[in-house]
């Protein structure tokens, strides 16, 4: 079983649309959406949830004012300034470290488990999908990403599927790190802009750091053909497989508006042809059987 993670560094390069297109092309796979704090893949996949679970992670301090003697120890010890002068804890600022809970001489601090979001096991027209919704302003996105990927792996094992197709988050921080560990390969979707190039280099470094093989493709390539070529040279120089370029095409937006993949929307566009070629290269390079 293989897991392909699609990342980009920079947001808005087309990760999710490309994952959706691959969902149209790949067989025997489970989809997983690891962009848990701004998940969008479901808008194309229209998943029907068969299971829904709370995502609980970490704790949050709550001061019982009936027991609190306002000694001030917790406020002195809290490094996140999460406790106000009137001894209420701002949930958004509480890191869940439990230092106040441990040291309170009156045992006045409760420490309930936090529900930070939900995750779902669903069916789609392209097969099973695992996805999640992190509560707004919540922490623990990395843990939720890990959970989504683990559940997708369980589905793949139970149904004897060949592939986990994971839509990754932007950036290089905690949720991206959680998306990469143990993946068979990472496909970086970049764009031929100074920002796309800069961000690709950083996320490729991160994938190298976790020893995940990197592949690169350029979306919206004709917006700056010189830059697209530079990216190809950069990838080749670094030993990353360069899989091809996709032209800028309003069909991405049109397909999204009607909730279809770019392939479903119109299989005869230049973008669709480019995506099919890239998918073939991806599947042979990670060792999937041709459909």
């Amino acid at each position: 079983m293989k897991e392909l993670v699609i990342i980009s560094g920079k947001g808005g390069t087309g990760k999710t649309s490309i994952v959706a297109a691959f969902a149209s092309l790949a067989v025997n796979k489970v989809l997983s959406d690891a962009d848990v704090d701004a998940a969008d893949l479901h808008l194309i996949m229209n998943p029907q949830a068969t299971e829904r679970h709370d995502f609980q992670a970490g704790h949050s301090a709550v001061i019982n004012l009936d027991k609190c003697t306002a000694c001030g120890l917790c406020r002195d010890l809290c490094r996140y300034n999460a406790i106000s002068e009137d001894y209420t804890v701002t949930r958004m600022d509480c890191e869940g470290c439990g230092v106040c809970v441990y040291f309170c001489p009156e045992k006045a601090v409760d420490f309930p488990l936090k529900t930070c979001g939900e995750w779902y096991l669903s069916e789609t027209r392209f097969g099973p999908m695992v996805h999640a919704r992190l509560g707004i302003a919540e922490e623990n996105s990395g843990k939720l990403v890990t959970l989504v990927r683990q559940e997708a792996r369980k589905v793949a094992e139970a149904k004897k599927l060949d592939l986990i197709l994971t839509d990754g988050p932007p950036g290089i921080g905690c949720p991206v790190i959680a998306s990469l560990g143990g993946a068979s390969a990472a496909l970086i979707v970049t764009e031929p802009t100074v920002a796309g190039r800069h961000d690709m280099e950083r996320v490729a470094q991160l994938a190298d750091f976790f020893r995940v093989p990197v592949m690169v493709c350029v979306n919206k390539a004709d917006l700056n053909p010189d830059s697209a070529r530079d990216i190809q040279h950069y990838a080749e120089q670094k030993g990353y497989a360069f899989l091809g370029a996709i032209p800028f095409d309003p069909v991405f937006t049109k397909a999204m508006v009607v909730g279809r993949t770019v392939i479903e929307y119109d299989n005869h566009t230049e973008a669709a042809a480019a995506l099919r070629q890239i998918w073939q290269k991806v599947s042979s390079s990670i060792g999937l059987q041709a459909a």
């Binding site: 947001g11 701004a38 969008d40 808008l43 040291f103 707004i136 932007p170 996320v203 508006v257």
Partner: protein, 290 residues
Amino acid sequence: MIISIASGKGGTGKTTVATNLAVSLGGGVQLLDCDVEEPNAHLFIHPVFEKTEIVSTGVPEVDETKCNLCGKCGEICQFKAIVVIGKTVLPFQELCHSCGGCMEVCPEHAIREGERVLGEIEVGHRNGLEFIHGRLRVGEAMAPPLIRKVRSLARPDKVTIIDAPPGTSCPVIASMKGADFVLLVTEPTPFGLHDLKLAVGAVRMLGIPCGLVINRSDMGDDRLREYAGSEGIPVLMEIPFDRKIAESYSRGELLVDVMPEWRERFLELYQRITDLVKLAGESVFSSRKQ
């Protein structure tokens, strides 16, 4: 005044709006790039950097000659960042949230505070504009403490413009909290709208007034405008899709340099933001009086 520029969805034009707004306003302005995972604003501002500061966070270092393996440090740590296994104590510094609990609890005072590098902050200028950004070390998971450090350099006597990261979780909150206004940049597509709703949820939770910039305003559909109308979120600016804009962006050029007529529009945008901030201040004042 602090204006934080956020979006939910990535790639909608936050950096375009932040950089062009900052440059249009000229002197007396600070631009803080708080997208420390993937900072891009410098690619458009081309600042001359004068100062670099390494930013670290506290992590446990154990003096094994003092440690008696009592295990209290592992007991208090919620992040599995320090454990006693057999006859050794193992700190996992990359998991540490720097709460200081292990140091506080250790009866032998065997733990002192070492450092883990989070990244660096660079400070520079272009013309009258002060430019500051954070760069998270590749491999480091925790962006919020570095973002807070960048924010600590905001000066109250200046207009501070913050380029926030995408998403709606802790790094975004760290970039919006305490701002006077959040300018949300989005595009009229289903992804743009879906993620905007999450961003609006976060902004409302923080109780900050907000407004909208619609980028690539002539692509997609009408659902975004319907949503903005029904939620009473003012649309402060629209930027149509223009291949010339996209191409100059790809080269790292500012919109206001390529098409100088946009400078006036960014100044108008700023004017509308200051009006809304004033209005929000007055309504808070009048609701307090009631």
